[in-house]
Symmetry: C2
Subunit: 261 residues, 2 copies
């Protein structure tokens, strides 16, 4: 499979992939000199990857040797975004598909949509998500979803967007929460050297370990376990905090937890 740079509609995704077994036996092949061979990695669908954050994640995962399926409500838009990603990261493996198609068979699904579209997307994915899958929710309930400020949030009945997602996914699907504090612009700026943390919330350590290993493949992103999913109530609030800092200091801020090393 190697490092296909053009999107293909016929995807072959090895099943049974475990991140914990993803060492680079015998070194990486010549076509992917920096990272592990893409062949040993299950593709990661990103629902909403035509948006800024999802697209930035797609680029970075693609460059890290992780095959990415760009999900969109529209098949053509998904394919276009995959082609664009492949042009930006020629060594990456990108595919495009409708969201419900994109998530099939994946072990880890990333949900990166605006809060106003989260419920709709999760409703549409009800027949597509499968027991055993991990859904990584990156949604932030910004007040901007209802014409409010991007430095304020809406109250979510379940406590957080991630907890709302957990209520909506089919039984057997586990929701994790991550990627709220990483700038979409910096992810997409491939010349920018990332150096920040990704805060992860989730109820099971083993799930978080799997996600952490995936995140750790992106150079400069360090995953940090922040506790159970309910902590997403706090971590989701960091997005408006960072937006407020960005506005004040004219920067693209991120978060680093000190004292961990």
């Amino acid at each position: 499979m190697g490092t296909a740079s053009a999107p293909t509609s016929a995807r072959t995704r090895p099943r049974g992939w475990r991140l914990t077994t993803l060492a680079c036996p015998g070194g990486a092949p010549a076509a992917a000199p920096i990272h592990c061979a893409a062949v040993s990695t299950s593709a990661v669908p990103i629902v909403g990857a035509t948006g800024a954050l999802g697209f930035g994640l797609a680029l970075r995962f693609g460059r890290a040797g992780v095959p990415v399926v760009i999900g969109s409500r529209d098949h053509d838009r998904a394919q276009e975004a995959a082609a664009k990603a492949a042009a930006l990261v020629p060594s990456g493996s990108f595919d495009g598909a409708r969201n419900a198609e994109a998530v099939k068979g994946a072990e880890i699904v990333i949900l990166s949509v605006p809060f106003r579209n989260q419920s709709e997307n999760l409703t549409n994915l009800k027949g597509a998500l499968e027991p055993g899958q991990l859904l990584v929710d990156a949604t932030v309930p910004l007040a901007a979803a209802l014409s409010g400020k991007a430095t304020r949030t809406l109250g979510v009945w379940q406590g957080s967007a991630a907890q709302q997602a957990q209520e909506m996914v089919p039984e057997g699907v586990t929701v994790l929460s991550a990627f709220h504090t990483v700038s979409a612009a910096l992810l997409s700026d491939l010349d920018h050297r990332l150096d920040e943390d990704v805060l992860i919330c989730g109820d099971r350590r083993a799930d978080k370990d799997r996600l952490a290993e995936l995140i750790g493949r992106i150079d400069g992103l360090r995953p940090v376990d922040c506790g159970p999913l309910e902590m997403a109530r706090i971590v989701e609030q960091l997005t408006p905090l960072i937006i407020s800092i960005n506005v004040r200091h004219k920067v693209r801020a991120g978060i680093r937890i000190t004292g961990l090393e």
Copy 2:
């Protein structure tokens, strides 16, 4: 005045002090070789400095050449804590006084009390706080205040403990919010080299600049303007997040905002 190491009950605090004028003209005197002369600095009262966070801040400010008045409900406890601080930081200037006495004439007052005592303390300070003063609130509405978890918070009607404080202080007193993410234990461990941020919220830039200059005197603490006081809703939530990280990783975590330099 120099660097009195013993607490004295007769305090002399120069008025009219402005942090912005606190350069070190002619260099620091021999007795305080690292920092500016304490003589040019107005004393900073810390209400609740017999507690862990307040005491840690007292030590660090003392070492930075900022005279500190340790406030407590009890005069003797305040004096004892001041003596203890002076023993730990012989170059520092520490005094102890009842809270209402401690805050008199100060430009910047730090409020470092548990959430369950915040209202009581502010009520007691109503006759003591003076128009023009800045009150820096470090209160966090941990659910632990009502026998809940330290990784959860209580809802505060005004939005945050800091906003509750703003509602309670006398007219003309301005509340800022800070110090929520700095470990009390690391502050008190004077061998520990701090390297983290202090997130500041407040409605007026000039007030935040004054506070930032004060915080910047402590080696290893970088003040970061996070926006208006209402952002304390978010920043106060970082304490339970850090507690959750501490528990999981067995560390004393803090926060660093990336991308600012």
